[in-house]
């Protein structure tokens, strides 16, 4: 055997390259040292193959593969859907239909109704101003309480008076203006007396 031992590069080339000359193969077949070195490289690469396959196969289980397959097919189906054809240039706008006679009558009736409503409201307001609003007496409030408790019955006079007081009270920020309301409101202590 005249050939020297294979270099590391030649050993690796044996692993990956299919087109080595016969001389190299013949040497490896005859040389125990190169065989052992080559075997070490083979084992290393086998380890790498096993480890990488185990790693990725452990991460991507069968269920994940099935889901991924379904997603891919869904995306492909979506991509394959035929596109909607948009006409270009755009289609001409639909012709405007002539207004029919019946529609005109309906529009005139609606307009007349609106005018009548406005006029009627004005007339009603005028009549209301010429006749003042009748006031009515609010009956005295009788609170049902226990026989032993005395309750003051409160009468507020006419509506105008009452509303006037309320407006006065709300119109001014002074606390004194709220007193009439305060007087009208029965207190808990009064009820208990």
């Amino acid at each position: 055997m005249t050939r020297h031992h294979l270099t590391d590069t030649e050993l690796l080339a044996l692993q990956f390259d299919q087109r080595r000359d016969g001389d190299v193969h013949a040497h490896v077949a005859a040389c125990a040292t190169c065989q052992a070195r080559g075997q070490a490289v083979t084992e290393l690469l086998d380890d790498v193959t096993r480890a990488t396959a185990e790693e990725s196969d452990g991460l991507f289980g069968n269920d994940l593969l099935a889901r991924q397959h379904a997603r891919i097919m869904g995306r492909v189906a979506h991509e394959c859907r035929s596109a909607r054809i948009i006409s270009f240039p755009a289609a001409p706008p639909a012709p405007v239909r002539p207004v029919r006679g019946g529609t005109r009558w309906v529009a005139a009736a609606v307009a007349a109704g609106v005018i009548l409503g406005i006029v009627g409201e004005h007339v009603t307001q005028r009549i209301a101003r010429s006749h003042p609003v009748r006031s009515f007496q609010v009956p005295a409030v009788q609170v049902a309480v226990d026989p032993g408790v005395t309750v003051r019955a409160v009468s507020t006079g006419s509506d105008d008076d009452f509303y006037g007081q309320v407006e006065l009270a709300f119109g001014s920020a002074a606390p004194a203006a709220l007193r009439p309301l305060d007087v009208l409101t029965p207190r808990v202590s009064d009820v208990r007396e």
Partner: protein, 219 residues
């Protein structure tokens, strides 16, 4: 001693005397899909495509995971690659192995994703000052806990060693060793000369050996 690790693809001689590889089952299916798409039978093409996906899915995930080291990114890259294959099936050349064409699409997608991820991380605040530590292993359910316990240490060691390889060496090694492509196919896929691919591959294996030797010595 059977030393050659690459799958020796069968070859045939055509009437003109040129040697061509016998096409795989995947290549046949891809050719049939292309014919169906060209004929306008897209539903039938989709059915055949499902078969093709099922045959190549696991291999594609192994490659993508080696590139990206992230379960979700690998899943996304594989999905995108298959969708691209279907949408561009008319540009597939039937006389070439489908695996080479598909791997090229997949690898390009992985590289794009990696670039996008790097851009994202450039703007993200670092969570820790340990920039040199390898990325954390993704968490995913495992089926066989016992087997995992047995091989976890070795797997982690090898995974770390592969992760420490320079990018180009890792790419070449992944394609040659995990995607089981010849150096000629890898050179076409990566746009490198075959000699360059071989140099990267040898360096990768040599470095891997050294790294694993160091790890074992430390252990």
């Amino acid at each position: 001693m059977a030393m050659n690790r690459l799958p020796r693809r069968a070859e045939t001689t055509d009437p003109r005397g040129s040697v061509r590889p016998v096409l795989s089952k995947e290549s046949e299916i891809a050719g049939a899909i292309k014919a169906l798409v060209v004929a306008g039978q897209r539903d039938a093409a989709r059915e055949r495509f499902g078969e093709l996906v099922a045959r190549q899915q696991r291999r594609a995930l192994r490659i993508a995971y080696q590139y990206l080291r992230d379960v979700h990114d690998a899943d996304e890259a594989v999905q995108d690659a298959f969708v691209k294959v279907f949408t561009h099936i008319t540009s597939y050349r039937e006389e070439l192995p489908f695996e080479v064409w598909f791997t090229r699409i997949l690898v390009n997608g992985c590289l794009d994703l990696r670039k996008a991820r790097a851009r994202r991380l450039r703007w993200a605040l670092p969570m820790s000052s340990q920039a040199d530590t390898p990325p954390p292993e993704p968490v995913a359910p495992r089926t066989n806990a016992e087997a995992r316990l047995i091989s976890a240490q070795r797997t982690q060691t090898i995974g770390t060693a592969i992760g420490r390889l320079p990018n180009r060496q890792r790419e070449v090694f992944t394609l040659c060793h995990i995607a089981e492509q010849t150096t000629a196919e890898v050179s076409r896929a990566l746009g490198l000369s075959e000699a360059t691919v071989r140099v990267h591959l040898f360096r990768a294996v040599r470095k891997l050996r050294a790294l694993l030797r160091d790890e074992e010595a430390l252990a």
